[in-house]
Each structure stands twice: as structure tokens, then as C-alpha cells.
């Protein structure tokens, strides 16, 4: 299978990418690692007229110490994040989860920016970024703006990014002493999560869910129950509240709700909540 024809342009800088987006409008799509976009294009589920390749913006492929935060360039590959000594020290839930994405080949090509901008609620990193209160940095014609993770994911494959904006950086807070766990459930090793659950305990506990609705979710009922002093298993019992689980070949909504309760309990236990 070969994608439908398109025009290919390579961005030389972030500003160049933005001006190309302005020039080509709705017809254009950014290409990072291509590991979400190219499979869709091969299946003709996406048919952009112009691909703007941002894959060579090396300035966006690094991980930097940024005071209270760690700044991860949008073009950083999952494998770089998985093995980053800085992230392993300062925000291990992010480096660990990057290591759970797909398989080795996918982690060599796929980028965190693509993962986040694609806005797929079955992706692993968005849920974790939501739970740690990451900040997304976007660059557009009017300059740079910061978007909190809690405002970023707006719908099924939709985000707060406009058509002329590029995601440049994902900032994650340093949480070197937090308890954490990411529980991913799938049937075959390389697959996407049927359901995933993250818990991060840093004083209070944050809980997030992968693939339990059209966007990555915070399990607010669980968080509130823990705040009110509920036991871990009582808190985990309300994990499916407020979710809208999809039903597909991998499982019914009811099965996913069951998984959410089980995985949240395991995540809370492992995070030491």
C-alpha cells in the first residue's frame, strides 16, 4: 500500500514550518516520525495534499534541564526519552512510559510531539503527561504560547493546537521523589493499550486513564476518594466513573471498565499511594 500522491516540503526551521503551514492551509500536514500519519495515509484514512517534513529540526530533538522542569523537544524519539539519564532521575514515569510505546523500531522513529499532537486517547504518553501536569509549548505566527496538558486534549484526535501551530516542546515537572506507576494492558507485546492507568503520588495522588474515552482522562473520582481517606481498593473501585470507554475488537466498554478498576488498583499499589 502506497499513500496517495502529495507534495513534499522540508522545513528548515520552526518559523519556516509555520510559514509553510500558513502557505498551504488545510491541505498541509506536518510529518514528524510518520508512525501515526503514514499508516493512516497508506490506508487512505488521511490524504494530505502537502507534507511538511519537520523531522530534521534537530534543535527540537533534545532533552534539557529547565529549572523546576525538564524540557523535551517535540522531535525527541521515544527511545531517547526512555534512555535519558536526566528523565530517569527527574521524571521516571515519563521515561518508563516511553519505553512501553510500541516496539523498538517504533520507538526509534516515533516522537513525543507526534504522540501528543496526534491526540489519540489510546496513546500512552498523553495520559502520563496529563497526570504530571506537563506544559505544551506551541509556536505559531503570533509567537509562542504555553498550554497546560489539562487544556490540550480537546476531542477524538483533536487538540488545542491551531492549523498554523507547531508543538515545539513538552515541559514536565521534576518529580524525583514521587511514587509512580504506569500499568498498560494489552494482549500482544507490541500492541496499543486496551486500557492503561497511571498513578503519580507526590503528596496527593494523581490518576490518569488511557483509552477510556475520546481523550486521555484524569480519574477524578479516584483522586477525590483518596483525598477523603478511602482505602486503595475502595478508591480504585470508582475508576470507571466519568469515563466513556470505547468498544472494539479488543473488548467491550464493560470489560474496559473492569480493566480500569483493576489497573488503577495495581497502579495505586505500585505508586505507594
Amino acid at each position: 500500500m502506497i499513500p496517495a500522491s502529495f507534495e513534499y516540503v522540508r522545513a528548515e526551521s520552526v518559523d519556516h514550518a509555520v510559514s509553510l503551514l500558513q502557505e498551504h492551509g488545510e491541505e498541509a500536514k506536518l510529518l514528524a516520525g510518520g508512525h501515526s500519519l503514514l499508516p493512516l495515509m497508506k490506508l487512505r484514512l488521511a490524504q494530505p495534499g502537502v507534507l511538511i517534513d519537520i523531522g530534521r529540526l534537530g534543535d527540537l530533538a533534545n532533552i534539557r534541564d529547565d529549572g523546576d522542569m525538564v524540557s523535551i523537544g517535540a522531535l525527541t524519539h521515544h527511545a531517547q526519552i526512555e534512555h535519558s539519564p536526566l528523565l530517569r532521575q527527574e521524571c521516571p514515569v515519563v521515561s518508563h512510559t516511553a519505553g512501553q510505546v510500541g516496539d523498538l523500531q517504533v520507538r526509534h522513529r516515533g516522537t513525543i510531539g507526534g504522540s501528543v499532537a496526534h491526540g489519540d486517547s489510546a496513546s500512552d504518553l498523553p495520559t502520563v503527561l496529563l497526570a504530571v501536569d506537563a506544559v505544551m509549548v506551541a509556536h505559531g505566527p503570533e509567537g509562542t504560547r504555553e498550554i497546560p496538558a489539562s487544556d490540550f486534549f480537546t476531542g477524538f484526535w483533536e487538540t488545542a493546537l491551531t492549523d498554523v501551530e507547531l508543538l515545539t516542546t513538552i515541559k514536565v515537572p521534576k518529580l524525583p521523589n514521587a511514587g509512580w506507576s504506569y500499568q498498560k494492558f494489552n494482549r500482544r507485546a507490541q500492541d496499543w493499550a486496551i486500557v492503561g492507568a497511571v498513578a503519580v503520588k507526590n503528596g496527593t495522588t494523581r490518576v490518569g486513564l488511557t483509552n477510556m474515552g475520546s481523550i486521555p482522562l484524569r480519574a477524578t473520582a479516584v483522586e477525590a476518594a483518596l483525598q477523603a481517606g478511602a482505602s486503595l481498593s475502595d478508591a480504585a473501585a470508582v475508576a470507571a466513573e466519568g469515563t466513556n470507554a470505547p468498544a472494539d475488537v479488543n473488548g467491550s466498554a464493560a470489560y474496559r471498565e473492569h480493566l480500569a478498576r483493576v489497573l488503577v488498583r495495581r497502579a495505586l499499589e505500585e505508586a505507594g499511594s
Partner: protein, 159 residues
């Protein structure tokens, strides 16, 4: 929608040899390797980024070449199964597949070997579990995983 498709000139070093070609932007790397360069060692299994039969090294790391555009490999180095041996001497991973009979029909083998080369490059002494996880992106329809894992372990011990 009318699209002005302009072919793109790419320079790719494949198995140490420089190639300059004009390709349609939608050409997949696997297609370029097999159809343009006649390097048919890398296979197409699923064509949907799942099976790993098309695995090659792009600037030294394993990728699924059915999910990479040839234009994305411009100015990069590609290694395929054809470029792995040193003259008549097999690469240790290839030799491991010989020693441990790491194949049955052989369809998955080129991709398996390239994935294993990249895995051992990152982790020269993996445990059995790490090998199994390291090749999770490669499927063997003959399901001969035991001998494949043994072959990779042999390579780790003999390189």
C-alpha cells in the same frame, strides 16, 4: 484536489554505496530498496508496520521501512541484510541463526536479524527476557521464536 507532484532527488548511502535517485515523494523506503535498487532481501510482510519483516537500519538503528518514506532517508545511511556480512564472513547475528537454526521458512529472517543487530548494539549482553522484548516488533509466522532467541543469545556471546 490537484496536486503538483514533483519528484524529489535523494542521496542515500545503502550498504556503503552512494545512490542518487529521483523518487516520487510517496515512495516508501522498502519500495525504493526492493524495486529501484533491486535489494530484495528486506521483505514486505504486513505492510502495516506490525510484522517487522521490512526492518532495516537507518543511520544505525532499526526501523520498519514500510513506514518510512524514501525522502525521509535522504542524506542517511541504510543497511539491509545484503550489507551485513563482511565479504564471506557472516555477521555474528547471521552466524547465530546458522548455529542455532534460527529459521524455518526464512520469511521473517532478514527483518529479525536486522532488529537483533540493533538490539545488540544498544544492549550487547541482553537477558533472554530482554531479547524477547527487543524483538517484539518482529513476527515469525512459523513461530520458531525459541531458536531465534537462542541465535541472538549465541551472537551476544560470540561477538
Amino acid at each position: 484536489m490537484a496536486i503538483a507532484v514533483v519528484n524529489r532527488r535523494i542521496e542515500v548511502t545503502v550498504n556503503g554505496k552512494a545512490h542518487v535517485d529521483e523518487v516520487e515523494p510517496r515512495t516508501l523506503l522498502i519500495q525504493y530498496l526492493r524495486e529501484k535498487l533491486d535489494l530484495t532481501g528486506s521483505h514486505v510482510g504486513c505492510d502495516t508496520s506490525n510484522c517487522g519483516a521490512c526492518t532495516v537500519l537507518l543511520d544505525g538503528v532499526s526501523v520498519k521501512s514500510c513506514t518510512v518514506l524514501a525522502v525521509q532517508a535522504d542524506e542517511c545511511a541504510v543497511t539491509t541484510i545484503e550489507g551485513l556480512a563482511d565479504g564471506d564472513t557472516f555477521h555474528p547475528v547471521q552466524q547465530g541463526f546458522v548455529e542455532k537454526h534460527g529459521l524455518q521458512c526464512g520469511y521473517c529472517t532478514p527483518g529479525m536479524i536486522m532488529a537483533a543487530v540493533s538490539l545488540l548494539d544498544e544492549n550487547p549482553h541482553p537477558t533472554e527476557q530482554e531479547i524477547r522484548e527487543g524483538i517484539e516488533g518482529n513476527l515469525c509466522r512459523c513461530t520458531g521464536y525459541k531458536n531465534i532467541v537462542d541465535a541472538i543469545q549465541w551472537a551476544a556471546e560470540n561477538s
